[in-house]
């Protein structure tokens, strides 16, 4: 016989969430933790706007002369 839960769906959800919070997460190495952190990090959109303005006012560098590439200067 299927047992009826004594909790409402909201209570059940809260309970599940709480249990997940207590369990937490495990990371085997520092890099794994940092990778997780990086994935949560959002690049502020204002950087792109600023950079677009800056690059429109700045001329790109001329290509490196062939002789500098050849002689490593």
């Amino acid at each position: 016989m299927k047992q009826q839960s004594k909790f409402s769906p909201e209570q059940q959800h809260a309970e599940t969430h709480s249990s997940q919070a207590q369990t937490g997460r495990e990371f085997v190495t520092a890099e794994e933790l940092l990778r997780f952190d990086a994935a949560q990090t959002t690049v502020p959109p204002q950087i792109e706007e600023r950079l677009k303005r800056s690059t429109q006012n700045a001329a790109p560098a001329q290509p490196r002369p062939w002789w500098k590439n050849l002689f490593g200067q």
Partner: protein, 186 residues
């Protein structure tokens, strides 16, 4: 990818607002990695924002000198590391602990081989920052570059001016030190 031109092809046409396709494609593909490195290396979101802008502007200005000897990612990392190190040499540098301090933690970190457990992810960023701030600059950079997952040990070694074998050895010690200090932030 050895040439930034290839990422332009791979990504298709970048936003029309960019003055050059190259810089738009570079930004789309690498901005997250560069911003994250700057954020965790400098420990200040505003400084990281400025640094990310400056790094890509420098890249744009010197794009003609990029010879494709390294990947575009490695090239950008080199610009970013130089830029962030210059910023740190003002006042922050004096507050960074030396590698001699790291050695104490490496030896005392008995539990550091166990996994890093995180119960509450809400303040995780602060704990990570606190831990990274307590590491030497070398360990901090090493962990951040390895965490990126797109660089080989040889590329990381070239960025840090070391051999690949030295990087492997130091990575083990950096992990141990990070784990020991991370535990202290709980």
């Amino acid at each position: 990818m050895d040439n930034p031109d290839e990422c332009v092809t791979a990504l298709g046409s970048p936003s029309a607002d960019w003055p050059s396709d190259d810089i738009g494609a570079l930004y789309d593909q690498h901005s997250r990695a560069i911003f994250y490195l700057a954020l965790r290396f400098l420990g200040d979101p505003q400084k990281a924002e400025d640094a990310t802008h400056d790094v890509f502007l420098k890249a744009f200005r010197s794009f003609g000198n990029f010879r494709g000897d390294a990947s575009a990612r490695t090239w950008l990392y080199r610009i970013a590391i130089n830029h962030c190190q210059n910023l740190n040499q003002s006042w922050h540098h004096r507050h960074v602990q030396t590698s001699a301090d790291d050695a104490i933690w490496e030896n005392s970190a008995a539990k550091s081989d166990s996994p890093l457990r995180v119960l509450e992810t809400k303040e995780l960023g602060q704990r990570i920052q606190k831990t990274l701030d307590s590491l030497s600059e070398e360990y901090r950079l090493l962990l951040l570059l390895v965490a990126d997952g797109e660089l080989s040990y040889e590329e990381i070694a070239a960025l840090l001016g070391q051999t690949a074998d030295a990087v492997r050895g130091k990575l083990h010690r950096a992990r141990k030190t990070f784990a020991a200090r991370f535990e202290q932030t709980a």
